[in-house]
Amino acid sequence: MLELRVRRRLSRLELDLALEVGSGALALAGASGAGKTTTLRIAAGLERPDSGTVRCQGEVWFDSRSGIEVPPERRRVGYVFQDYALFPHLSALGNVAYGLAARPRADRERRARALLERFGIAHLARARPAELSGGERQRVALARALAPEPRALLLDEPLSALDPATRGAAARELRELLETASVPALVVTHDFLEAAALARRVAVIERGRLVQEGAPGELVAAPATAFVADFAGANLLHGRATPPPARGELTRVALDGGGLVASTDEASGRVGVAVFPWDVTVERPDAPAAGSQVNRLTGRVTTLTVLGNRARVSVATPQPVTAEVTTASVERLGLREGAAAAVAWKATATRLVPGA
């Protein structure tokens, strides 16, 4: 358990945050400048809060009242920097072994090699960072962070330095890694889909304050603020994709729990189906399929959250699909929790993203 309860005056806002990260990853999401990276740096000891406490697995790392401040080198966190911060003068192996200085030499090299092996980059052990691709560098950074068996993992936008082509595979690997690592992991991201892909729980901060924390689906279905509504843009459904049988046809995705949807994206195997609430229309369940929406699922309304003149309607299909509609539509369709409804959207508005 990593616990932060901190205040810190920043130039443009005041960070005032209480976070608890259990084992399993928590994504810390928000717009740029919301204080995400500062929070991560405070957890690592690279920055000092004005007041508050930081605790990890029963150990006090910072306490402004009793004047405790454990320096970063004694916290044993695995920190992955946004642009990885690999040591340019050391090989991949040297980078990974760097944090193992306290161990006997043979042990150090064995563990570093084992980690490179695990990340599939053993053949790059002697390469310098400048010779590595973005994806390879990310793996070295992860291996380096994991080498000293950290008590917490802190990752700052771990996918943002990657090109879109490698991001998908990297996201999948990283999610697996975070789920199997038995330490608390805090992942900073400004991208909701990335947050949803990497962590089971997402904490959204807005100008230094925690505004909502929950599973990605909960944030989409019932956003606490307008910011969360805009930020937690996409529904993320899970399923198995079958690639288009011929040119010009669509990818079909059999959703877990039932339901079939189509997408213009190409994919096969396990995928996440992302669709934005404002692309989803809500209809009466018995309404005839009209218009160009290929994807149509029915179910019962589970939540209905009104935000000013718009409302988020979540329908269990059985995976929850949230639509954003006007409050006028809610009245016209007689929507309420428990009522039957259909949600529909176009195959062109259906993004397939790598996901478990």
Binding site: A44, G45, L46, P71, P72, E73, R74, R75, R76, V77, G78, Y79, F81, D83, A85, L86, F87, P88, H89, Y98, G99, A101, A102, R128, P129, A130, E131, R144, A145, A147, P148
Partner: protein, 283 residues
């Protein structure tokens, strides 16, 4: 002015600069055959001066690197009151005329200087000794090193330092294992500049340490001493100095390139960080 005319003007300026700067060096060798260069080492004055120059310069460089590197790191990485003043004070010797430097050293460490009595009671007598030469060299040359080292450390990506800390390294270990190695090309460049300045140092040494053969008569002083009486010997010693400096410059260049490695001439967009770390310092 047309483009061709402008290019011609630039080329003319470069040609003039090259001719002016190269001609004196060439002239030294025009009158000094390699055989004469070697035999000049038989001249005890020249041999003593060369040996003394090498010894004092290397000693002074060692002192500068050992003291200057951590000092430069502090100046580059911490903000503290009086920092700007400290930087200015360290750079002052750059603009001081060597004669002023010599007088200053005498006034500080000479028998009647501020520290003269303390030194005398400790049994230390500096003027007219080899130690005085080293002090004079440190005084005039260390600002070159410290300045360059400070610039190199300032260009060091702070996240490398932070990464090292999160990986369990103390600040001291981070300095030794990350900051210094990553900044080595810049530190080497600073060492080269300081070496050049120290090897050629004349005025402050003459005033503070004198010009005693084998004790404080470095190569530049020996050249000066013999040029009125034995011009060919002065020429031979000058050629010796050119060879030594040139060899050093080449060694630093090659060493710097080797350190930066095949990846040193970094693909800029590809790895802006490594590029910044390795090209920010003029090597």
């Amino acid at each position: 002015m047309t483009r061709a005319a402008f290019t011609a003007a630039l080329a003319a300026a470069l040609a003039l600069a090259l001719a002016f700067l190269v001609l004196p060096v060439v002239a030294i060798f025009a009158d000094t055959s390699p055989g004469r260069l070697v035999s000049s080492l038989d001249n005890p004055v020249a041999a003593d001066a060369l040996w003394l120059s090498v010894r004092t310069t290397l000693t002074a460089l060692a002192v500068m690197v050992v003291v200057g590197t951590p000092a430069a790191y502090l100046l580059a990485t911490r903000r503290f009151p009086g920092r700007a003043l400290a930087v200015t004070a360290l750079e002052l010797p750059l603009v001081l005329p060597p004669a002023v430097a010599g007088i200053g050293l005498l006034a500080a460490f000479g028998p009647r200087g501020i520290l003269g009595e303390a030194l005398a009671s400790a049994g230390v007598r500096l003027p007219l000794t080899t130690t005085a030469v080293v002090l004079a060299l440190c005084f005039v040359a260390s600002p070159f090193y410290v300045r360059q080292a400070q610039a190199a450390f300032a260009a060091l990506d702070p996240s490398l330092v932070e990464a090292s800390r999160t990986l369990g390294a103390s600040e001291a270990r981070t300095f030794a294992r990350v900051a210094v190695p990553v900044c080595l090309p810049g530190l080497a460049a600073g060492t080269g500049l300081a070496f050049g300045r120290a090897l050629g140092e004349f005025g402050a040494t003459l005033m503070f340490a004198g010009s005693l053969q084998g004790v404080s008569q470095t190569l530049p002083l020996a050249i000066y001493a013999s040029f009125a009486t034995d011009f060919p010997a002065a020429l031979a010693m000058s050629a010796l100095l050119v060879v030594v400096s040139g060899a050093l410059l080449a060694a630093l260049r090659i060493g710097g390139a080797r350190w930066a490695g095949p990846t040193g001439a970094v693909r800029l967009g590809d790895d802006a960080r490594a590029a910044r770390a390795q090209t920010a310092q003029p090597a």
